[in-house]
Symmetry: C2
DNA sequence: GTATCATTCAACTAAATGGTTGAACAAGAA
DNA sequence: TTCTTGTTCAACCATTTAGTTGAATGATAC
């Protein structure tokens, strides 16, 4: 599988969970330690740590050790890249939207 | 869980697979029957049918029976909605980008 | 040093995912 | 009606996921 595909798989998979999207929003507002984040959810520390690892694998956040703490912060470069991918998807869809609407609202002849 | 969250979970999960993204691109170009799609991949008919069901659940495509065939087409409304969600994410990220970059490039004092 | 707090790691479970096969059903063609 | 093609459904399997607990490791404070 192409690297790009793995990247997109990881990114979309990371986004496909409410808790992880919430963590993303939280660290977007302010960087926080894993413990800070864990305290915000009714889930074990280990569970939250795993969610964070999924976000790290997707390159959406970074972990940086700062003394005793591991601080989680949004990864600006990756977030920018993610946006581009999402927009590229959106763009392709836009390009095809008119043509699609045309097909869909006119008589449907089998695509065979 | 809020309906909106389930919707986003389903949508991102559907996008988190290369085969499904490819199917999406294909039906974006031209609506096709399940059989047409299945023939395009080195995977069983049933496997592709399942992938399509995931896309249907995410409301990214529609299935419409047309005689013997079940025709799969991009769902324009949902694609529009999906775009909005993605853009909303992107927008939030953009809003915070400057502020984040500021935080990240300046001295990191613990968020505690 | 020891104690304490934050994190990581390993082992385990339950459920979901992605795939298979084969049987049953639906619809058009002969 | 029978035949053929397209789709659905059910059962099954292997892997991954999302969660748990508890032990081990890191880093600071005393």
């Amino acid at each position: 599988m192409v690297e790009q595909e793995i990247y997109l798989n990881n990114m979309f998979h990371a986004l496909a969970d409410s808790t992880r999207r919430d963590i993303l929003a939280r660290v977007g507002r302010m960087e926080q330690s894993i413990g800070d984040l864990a305290r915000a959810y009714s889930m074990s520390f280990a569970a939250i740590a795993k969610h964070i690892d999924v976000l790290v694998r997707a390159q959406l956040v970074r972990k940086q050790r700062r003394g005793k703490y591991q601080v989680v912060s949004l990864n600006p470069e990756a977030v920018g890249a993610a946006q581009e991918h999402l927009e590229r998807y959106a763009m392709n869809w836009n390009q095809r939207f008119d043509q699609l609407e045309h097909i869909l609202t006119s008589y449907h002849k089998p695509a065979l």
